[in-house]
């Protein structure tokens, strides 16, 4: 049997059979996620799969069956993820959300998780539409795009990547559910990043949002994707061999000594510049295009646990002797 670097087979990373529609982009993302976790060698028992409510939020049941999952309430996954990480900072917290869960009901928690730089991976499976309630617009639907029944979206869209950068996010990437080559290394880089890693993944809804007039259909995305860079993930101590043209590769060292190598498709794209990233995102959108790749990264910002100067031991493991005021100090207070 083929095993990964911690000796586990790929099957360990699988979950229950999906109950989403056949052809749903989310299922592709789940498969890429399984590959990324398997190749990275994530310990199943240290993974905390967090989600809110919606089609996307069901997907934690479909991978790493042995891991603990927490399918919370609509739009409030970031708070539960925050609590879980504070209780046990050794957990790998992986949040999976959708565009309704993130950009509408959960926008506040999304924003505050980012500004605290909670160490977690936050994936938005973004299809621009509410699936479980049968096809209403979400807040990430593009202005002027249409529903299946012809209704036109009259409202401005929320760009979860642009917003994240504005809020001080330390890792922001966008990809497409059908592009495993780009998505798998991005997920692995997100795992290695210490801080909030936002992955906005355009994921067409085959049932409610794959028609002409949708700007999140397979056809539209394939035609309008603008690639900023293609990442390679290099784990710690692995030799970095570069066979690309000099000047077209940006190397970024992540917290645990791993690297992400960005093969720049747009040669002048600089993933370490907040302003450049925002300009590129807005520029692409102005042309009706999706900019994909690792859009922005800053590996040097302390995460929430570090900012709070928390002890290295998981708080859940502390006992009476660690937590109670000593009898001696108590006597000074009340003696």
């Amino acid at each position: 049997m083929t095993v990964n670097i911690i000796g586990l087979g790929r099957d360990i990373y699988k979950g229950l059979p999906t109950t989403l529609c056949a052809g749903c982009g989310h299922n592709s993302i789940t498969n890429h996620l399984i590959k990324a976790l398997y190749e990275y060698g994530v310990q199943p028992h240290m993974l905390a799969k967090m989600s809110g409510i919606g089609c996307s939020s069901k997907t934690p049941a479909y991978f790493v069956d042995q891991a603990h999952g927490f399918n919370g309430v609509h739009g409030r996954m970031p708070s539960a993820a925050t609590g879980a990480k504070l209780a046990n900072r050794e957990l790998l917290v992986l949040g999976i959300s959708g565009d309704g869960d993130t950009a509408s009901i959960g926008l506040g928690q999304y924003a505050h998780m980012i500004r605290r730089n909670l160490d977690c991976i936050y994936m938005v499976e973004n299809n621009g539409v509410y699936g479980l309630t049968k096809g209403q617009f979400s807040a990430t639907a593009d202005l002027g795009s249409t529903l299946k029944n012809g209704t036109v979206n009259e409202f401005a869209m929320i760009d979860v990547c642009g917003l994240a950068i504005e809020l001080g996010a330390t890792f922001v990437a966008r990809s497409f559910s059908g592009d495993g080559k780009q998505l798998v290394p991005l997920i692995q880089a997100a795992i290695a990043h210490r801080g909030t890693a936002i992955l906005d993944i355009i994921s067409p809804c085959v049932t409610f949002n794959d028609h002409v007039g949708s700007t999140k259909s397979y056809a539209y995305v394939k035609e309008h994707e603008l690639v900023a860079n293609m990442p390679d993930f290099i784990r710690p101590r692995e030799e970095i061999t570069v066979d690309y043209e000099p000047g077209t590769v940006q190397t970024i060292e992540l917290e645990n000594g791993s690297h992400v190598l960005l093969r720049k498709v747009a040669a002048d794209y600089d993933a370490t510049s907040r302003i450049a990233a925002l300009e590129a995102i807005h520029g692409a959108r102005g042309k009706g295009e999706f900019l994909t790749g690792l859009l922005y990264v800053d590996a040097d910002v302390p995460d929430l646990c570090a900012k709070e100067r928390m002890t290295a031991s998981p708080l859940k493991d502390l006992g009476e002797a660690d937590l109670r005021i000593s009898r001696e100090d108590w006597a000074k207070l009340f003696g």
Binding site: L86, A87, P314
Partner: protein, 604 residues
């Protein structure tokens, strides 16, 4: 002249933001230091500066801790409320006031004694710093009042020393101001009233002042709370603020600076309780504190915690509602809401602290109960308990270890053939859980608020759903005898009072008054929900039980009617108080006596 020693109430009427808090506390501490029990009540506005505020110091030789309606000694330092303040004084009382306030017409009473003091003039003449002057003016009143009541300078000096601790300059300046008051009163005010403080013994030995929010913060520290997520709201903020200051002192490794705690000021109460549940799920003891409006926002997650069975501790320091209501006034109006918080069939464990000791001990209990029952536990304090200072015995060092409940480790799992997250293995309704990070192939499970079976698998089957709800009821029933049990004081009287929370203190005085009136009553103090079986048994032993509470809708009374056996329902009667200020004894005695003396009233 008939003298009134150690049994009267002083009311200090000032403007919010005028810095009267220190002087009020100095006066309170000075009286207490003479061995005389006191019960201070701060009646303050929802405002930073400018609105009226009152500080009542009840001087009480019997040690009553409840509010009284009778104001005997007024210190009038607010022109805006001068007219109504004068009217509030009981006949025979005393009014010490700023000399420039008019004493004529409505404000001229012939049944009280006036002492006019030129406070502003004295402050202006003696203190050049305009900012400091307003604070020192208040300390002048302390000197005047002390001289009139017979408290000596040394006692005031000690109280000022305690108030300002190591700030020597502040001690000296404040004492100067107090001496100005003493001197003015000696030279200009001939004692013409009955009220005096005299040293007592045996009533305050070993007692200290503390507010319930600080006591609860101590309980959270000693109860092993490691994750706090909160959103500021009156009157609960000082609970978390006290926790923060205690954690800064006692949870920080002095060598490394590393903390055995995580505290997050959340973006709102939705996030606060979400963080608490996330932390509880991952195995930390976690809490949030809030008040009514915040509790409303927490409803959805509370139901999740109940159904997915996640430990959490939520302090609700109740204020006057509905809606924004009166943020700085007190009520017990969240009882039924908290008990049933969330949509669907939901019923929670609710603790009902009455005293500072309760606030401390129930905070510790709450973490044990949350872990034991794997559920959100609500501690329903109120503004009166949380923010007022009470005289209390010192908090006792906990002797019990934490009860972390039914948590399976990897070793436990290795010994088991199988386990199910929601299986009722012990027939007490309480299942076993595992924590994320447990290194065993069968440890993981999927926590969800959607329908699930004993193995935590999604299920929409009618039988599975009903079975789950029934097990949660079994768990709730198990809690009836595990939560803090009622305190019963019983001497075989046919009539009794049933109360909870801070209403207790008014019941204590009311029982003395009722006994003096020839209607002695037994007493059950409820300490928690779900109801202990002791409650129905107590009611069954009495002909009439008056349920006293501080809300309009008789919330506990209604809950009792729903849960008591039919033949006991007609024995309970409701007495309510809900004007936002703490309940006093007469709010109980008057309606109770009326009902007892006119049976027709009961029948209605």
């Amino acid at each position: 002249m008939h003298r009134v020693i150690n049994d009267f109430t002083i009311r200090v009427a000032t403007v919010n933001g005028s810095g009267s808090q220190s002087s009020n506390l100095v006066l309170t501490n000075a009286i207490f230091s003479l061995g005389v029990p006191v019960a201070p009540k701060n009646v303050f506005p929802s405002n930073i500066e400018g609105l009226p505020t009152w500080f009542d110091v009840r001087v009480t030789s019997k040690g009553y801790q409840c509010r009284t309606r009778d104001i005997d000694v007024l210190v009038g330092l607010n022109a805006a409320t001068w007219r109504t303040d004068v009217a509030s004084v009981k006949p025979g009382g005393v009014i010490v006031h700023e000399a420039t306030y008019p004493v004529a017409g409505e404000t001229l009473r012939d049944d009280v004694t006036y002492y006019a003091v030129p406070f502003n003039e004295l402050a202006k003449a003696n203190f050049s710093d305009g900012n400091l002057r307003k604070y020192l003016l208040n300390m002048i009143y302390v000197g005047v009042l002390a001289e009139l009541l017979g408290i000596d300078e040394a006692t005031i000096e000690a109280a000022i020393g305690k108030q300002f601790k190591s700030k020597l300059k502040a001690v000296a300046t404040n004492m100067d101001a107090a001496r100005i008051g003493f001197a003015y009163a000696r030279e200009h005010l001939a004692k013409r009233d009955a009220f005096a403080i005299e040293r007592m013994s045996g009533k305050t030995d070993g007692l200290l002042f503390m507010d319930g929010n600080r006591a609860a913060a101590f309980g959270c520290i000693m109860g092993g709370c490691t994750v706090v997520a909160w959103y500021p709201i009156t009157p609960s903020s000082s609970l978390c603020e006290n926790f923060i200051s205690l954690a800064e002192k006692y949870r920080v490794n002095r060598e490394t600076g590393e903390k055995n705690v995580a505290i997050v000021q959340a973006e709102d109460e939705l996030a606060a309780i979400g963080m608490v549940l996330g932390a509880g799920w991952a195995g930390a003891r976690s809490m949030t504190s809030t008040s009514g409006p915040g509790l409303s926002l927490m409803a959805e997650w509370a139901g999740y915690g109940y159904y997915a069975e996640v430990p959490a501790v939520i302090f609700d320091v109740q204020r006057a509602g509905p809606s924004t209501g009166l943020p700085t006034r007190t009520m017990q109006a969240d009882v039924s809401f908290a008990y049933h918080l969330s949509h669907g069939d939901t019923k929670h464990i609710v603790l009902l602290p009455a005293t500072v000791s309760d606030a401390y001990e129930m905070a510790m209990d709450a973490f044990d109960l949350a872990d034991r029952f794997q559920t959100p536990v609500f501690v329903l304090s109120d503004l009166d308990l949380g923010m007022n200072s009470w005289i209390t015995p010192p908090l006792a060092y906990p002797e019990k270890p934490f009860d972390r409940g039914k948590v399976l480790s990897a070793d436990d799992l290795a010994k088991l053939e199988s386990w199910g997250r929601y299986r009722d293995a012990d027939h007490d309704g309480i299942p076993y859980r595992t924590l994320p990070g447990t290194n065993h192939a069968s440890a993981g499970y999927f926590t969800r608020g959607t329908g699930h079976d004993e193995q935590a698998r999604y299920s929409e089957l009618p039988d599975v759903w009903e079975r789950g709800l029934d097990r949660l009821t079994r768990k709730h029933d198990t809690a009836r005898t595990v939560v803090p049990q009622p305190v019963v004081e019983e001497s075989g009287h046919p009539v009794a009072i049933l109360a909870y929370g801070t209403t207790h203190h008014a019941v204590v005085e009311a029982r003395d008054l009722l006994e003096a009136d020839g209607v002695p009553v037994d007493y059950l103090r409820l300490k928690a929900l779900p109801l202990s079986p002791d409650v129905a048994a107590f009611i069954a032993r009495h002909e009439r039980v008056y349920v006293v509470e501080q809300n309009r809708d008789a919330q506990l009374f209604t809950l009792l009617r729903a849960e008591l056996p039919n033949h006991l329902v007609s024995r309970i009667h409701s007495i309510r108080h809900y004007n936002g200020v703490p309940i006093d004894a007469h709010a109980i005695v008057d309606p109770l006596l009326a009902a007892e003396r006119e049976p027709a009233v009961i029948a209605e």
